[in-house]
């Protein structure tokens, strides 16, 4: 099953995402911010990255930018997870290389549906 890195500074969101994805059989690893995520992503190849946008240390947009620079993450789907559903933020994410976005609040089914879309 596909491996996913879930990045969020909020523990409750992180837990909820992990729980949902694990329940659906995905192999999930958590990261608490962009810096943590970048390290984890370099240690291991993930099939998809789901990241919050507004985080301390390194925000989600910078994380995506950084990851896209790595050859092994050039084509990996990356989704931003954000309440900032204004077009502006989404486009910022896209410009950085995000595949798409999931708007908070979302329920587990929505998350799984979206994920299925990128992972097939």
């Amino acid at each position: 099953m596909a491996s996913i890195l879930a990045v969020d500074d909020s523990a409750s969101m992180r837990k909820m995402v992990t729980f949902t994805l694990k329940g659906a059989g995905y192999d999930v690893e958590e990261a608490v911010d962009g810096v943590d995520a970048l390290t984890k992503a370099q240690n291991r190849q993930f099939d998809c990255i789901i990241t919050d946008v507004n985080m301390p240390n390194k925000d989600g947009i910078t994380l995506i930018k950084d990851l896209r620079m790595l050859p092994e993450y050039k084509f990996i789907p990356m989704l931003t997870l954000t309440t900032e559903s204004g077009m502006e933020k989404k486009m910022e994410g896209k410009a950085a290389g995000a595949t798409g976005w999931i708007v908070k609040p979302f329920d587990p089914d929505q998350l799984l549906k979206t994920l299925k879309k990128v992972l097939g």
Binding site: D9, S12, N54, P56, G86, M87, T99, W101, G120
Partner: protein, 728 residues
């Protein structure tokens, strides 16, 4: 798939309260004129996370409320809105409101919807009545899009389904970089195929020769036909993520012209200002207090009452003084601590250390097991080595476990900037609070109990210590007073100091007051230190006028009693005109105590080491017996009452009457010296405190019990309790 979301609630609430604290301290920083974008961003992030979480976990009321806060903060963050004092006050009020709201939800109580509505109205008023004209046009756009909870729809110009068409013709021409966003055309086609019958015509005219081909680029383009009754929104949803990465033309097969793809902002209206706005009034510090209730002194009369119950009466007046929209008062704060105390956050490094230690113990155990299996005398050395190792590991293990309970004192300190801000603005004083050593660690149980005494002491400093700005200038000081809250480790103790650069304590005034109140004799000669100690006497208050800030003189004796109940002590030093320093010494933990074991008859008792001043032998001749009042002896300049422990505990003594054969342990409790007469000193050791109340009942003069190395039980003496006992 349905998931029980309630399992994440506890984490969510903890996170929210942390977020609120961060927001509060951020807001207070802004207040000091420090307009730093990182600070605003931190505050924003707090609101943002709470909003995201509460929406996901179904607390819509919280989500709605934070949404307004977030919008306001977002504008501040982007520089679209200036940070004003008023906005900060409204936001601070909202933080309080939110905290109360979350507490209610957490405790499954009803939310005070009226207060929430008032705060929301205040926020909305701030948002709309804002200081920039551009604003009003901006806000609703954000609101409009954010309010929609569903996945990717907000950026589309047209959502309404059009069912009439029999199909769609799509011209899809990705830009070269499409693949680099992780989007895959094949994936999109698969989705289209799920909607209806799909035919895709690939155009390869742009594909370069094999030598020039860059496999990372997308050189293809497609003409797609999907047939079936499909709403346009569903088609658009599939291409939602690639808008801007391709040229896209979607047309209905029924020859209807396609809607333009560009996004046109909707005509927007300002948010409605609710009628309730009128009711919201700014707090007016000038309005005098409704008469504060007389604190319930009966609680204070109970001598051995536990600390928590104490400061409550004094808090009442202050919570009364809060704004018209009254927010969390002490009761709810207490509830908070109770709720929060059920779980603890531990650094994973500490857990790792713990697991490591357990591993070591297991290894030692198995080693000893091997030695014991076929024990012969020549293995004695091995056995001794093993036991020594076990001892070391047990000690380390104990330390690691204790470490888990240690929290940085910032848990307590972090509340004070707000307290100082609120009270100083109410008093019209300018005061800066400096926090030093916030990372000093202290046991969780101590953290919970030290809060109330500290609040009281800081209020005292604010109210009585720091002078009014004009007086300060006249005294040649800087207009802004400084209160420093400092924590550091010394020995096995933590020291917390509250240092103010205010007026200091006036010895003459203190003595005068004490004489007036009949607390001391007029002829008494007191040292500075003794004079300062006067403030710890019950019923002492030097403030010329009683204020609602620092209570009415029922405070300091309670503070001292609370701190002593924690096994600590409190010291004052002060210089007139320069300021006052109050130092609190506390044990690092309440679970372990450094004790001196003493023998009384066949029994062993433990005296906390902190309260021991010295231990001496005296002769019968040094005793003064006062009829009906017990006995005293003279130690340098003090006459010290003697408590014969065997009488207190009704134990048959070894040295029935020969004073010279016993030992006097001089102890201090509540500032009073006292000599405990025991048979012998046995040794110092660390003991683990076991609660007596939990297993038996409370006994006067005893604070707990412990199990000694030989398995017998020893009682731990409660020195302040004994001192009170002796003075009766």
């Amino acid at each position: 798939m349905s998931i029980d979301m309630s399992q994440f609630h506890q984490v969510f609430f903890e996170e929210c309260f942390e977020g609120l604290e961060a927001m509060e301290s951020g807001l207070l920083n802004l207040d000091m004129g420090d307009i730093d974008s990182e600070v605003i961003n931190t505050i924003f992030r707090g609101a943002h996370s709470i909003k995201g979480g509460s929406g996901t976990f179904g607390f819509n009321m919280v989500a709605d409320f934070t949404h307004v806060m977030e919008t306001l903060l977002d504008e501040m963050r982007d520089g679209r809105r200036k940070v004003t004092q008023n906005a900060i006050n409204v936001l601070l009020g909202s933080v309080d409101c939110l905290r109360e709201m979350l507490t209610s939800i957490q405790n499954e109580q009803a939310v005070d919807e009226h207060a929430v509505a008032l705060h929301k109205a205040a926020l909305e008023q701030e948002l709309n009545g804002g200081n920039s004209a551009v604003l009003i046009a901006d806000i609703p756009t954000i609101t409009e899009t954010e309010a929609k909870p569903t996945i990717h729809n907000s950026d589309k110009p047209e959502d309404s389904p059009k069912e009439a068409e029999v199909g769609w013709k799509i011209a899809f021409c990705p830009y070269l970089d499409l693949l680099k966003t992780g989007n895959d055309p094949v994936r999109m086609f698969r989705e289209l195929a799920e909607l209806g019958e799909l035919t895709a015509l690939i155009s390869i005219q742009d594909v370069p020769s094999i030598f020039e081909l860059d496999p990372e680029e997308c050189n293809l383009s497609w003409d797609i036909k999907v047939t079936g009754e499909i709403p346009e929104s569903e088609i658009r949803e599939i291409f939602n993520w690639v808008e801007g990465d391709c040229e896209l033309d979607i047309q209905a097969i029924a020859q209807k012209p396609a809607k333009p793809v560009s996004v046109a902002p909707k005509a927007s209206q300002p948010l409605p200002i609710e009628d309730t706005v009128e009711e919201f009034k700014e707090p007016d510090p000038a309005i005098p207090e409704p008469s504060s209730p007389v604190p319930d002194i009966s609680i204070l009369a109970a001598p051995l009452e536990l600390p928590k119950a104490f400061d409550k009466p004094e808090e009442v007046p202050v919570s009364r003084t809060r704004d018209a929209i009254k927010l969390p008062n002490v009761e709810s704060e207490i509830k908070n601590t109770v709720a929060a105390s059920t779980s603890i956050r531990v650094d994973t490094a500490k857990i790792d250390a713990l697991i490591n230690m357990v591993g070591e113990v297991v290894i030692t155990q198995s080693m000893l097991g091997l030695v014991g299996e076929n024990f012969t005398m020549d293995k004695l050395d091995q056995l001794k080595k093993g036991l020594a190792q076990l001892e070391r590991h047990t000690r380390d293990l104990q330390q690691s476990v204790m470490n888990v309970r240690m929290l940085p004192i910032s848990f307590v300190f972090s509340r004070f900037p707000r307290l100082v801000h609120d009270i100083s603005s109410k008093l019209g004083k300018k005061i800066e609070l400096k926090l030093v050593g916030e990372n000093t660690e202290i046991d969780k149980s101590v953290v919970e109990l030290i809060n109330d005494p500290l609040v009281h002491l800081i209020r005292n400093s604010l109210d009585h210590g720091i002078e009014m700005p004009a007086n300060r200038l006249a005294a040649g000081k800087h207009e802004t007073g400084i209160i420093e809250l400092k924590a550091y480790h010394r020995g096995g103790h933590i020291v917390i100091e509250i240092i103010d650069d205010g007026n200091g304590m006036d010895k003459k005034k203190l003595i005068g007051k004490a004489v007036e109140k009949g607390l001391i004799d007029e002829s008494a000669v007191l040292t500075d230190k003794q004079a300062f100690e006067l403030i710890f006497l019950p019923g002492f208050s030097t403030a010329e006028k009683l204020t609602d800030i620092s209570g009415r003189g029922v405070g300091m004796d309670v503070v001292r009693r609370n701190i002593e109940a924690l096994g600590g002590n409190i010291e004052i030093s002060s210089e007139l005109g320069k300021g006052t320093t109050i130092a609190i010494h506390l044990p690092l933990t309440l679970a372990i105590l450094d004790g001196q074991s003493v023998a009384v008859g066949d029994e062993t008792y433990i005296v906390p080491l902190v309260s021991i001043i010295e231990s001496i032998n005296i002769t019968e001749k040094m005793l003064n017996k006062v009829a009906g009042k017990g006995e005293t002896f003279r130690l340098r300049n003090h006459y010290i009452p003697i408590i014969r422990m065997h009488k207190v505990f009704n134990v048959k003594p070894k040295n029935t009457s020969k004073t010279a054969e016993g030992v006097i342990v001089v102890v201090e409790g509540q500032g009073v010296l006292c000599g405990l007469f025991v048979d012998d000193l046995l040794g110092q050791q660390q003991v683990v405190i076991k609660s007596l109340e939990a297993n038996y009942r409370r006994v006067e003069g005893v604070s707990g019990a412990t199990i000694l190395g030989d398995g017998s039980v020893a009682l731990i003496l409660d020195v302040p309790g004994l001192v009170r006992f002796s003075s009766r």
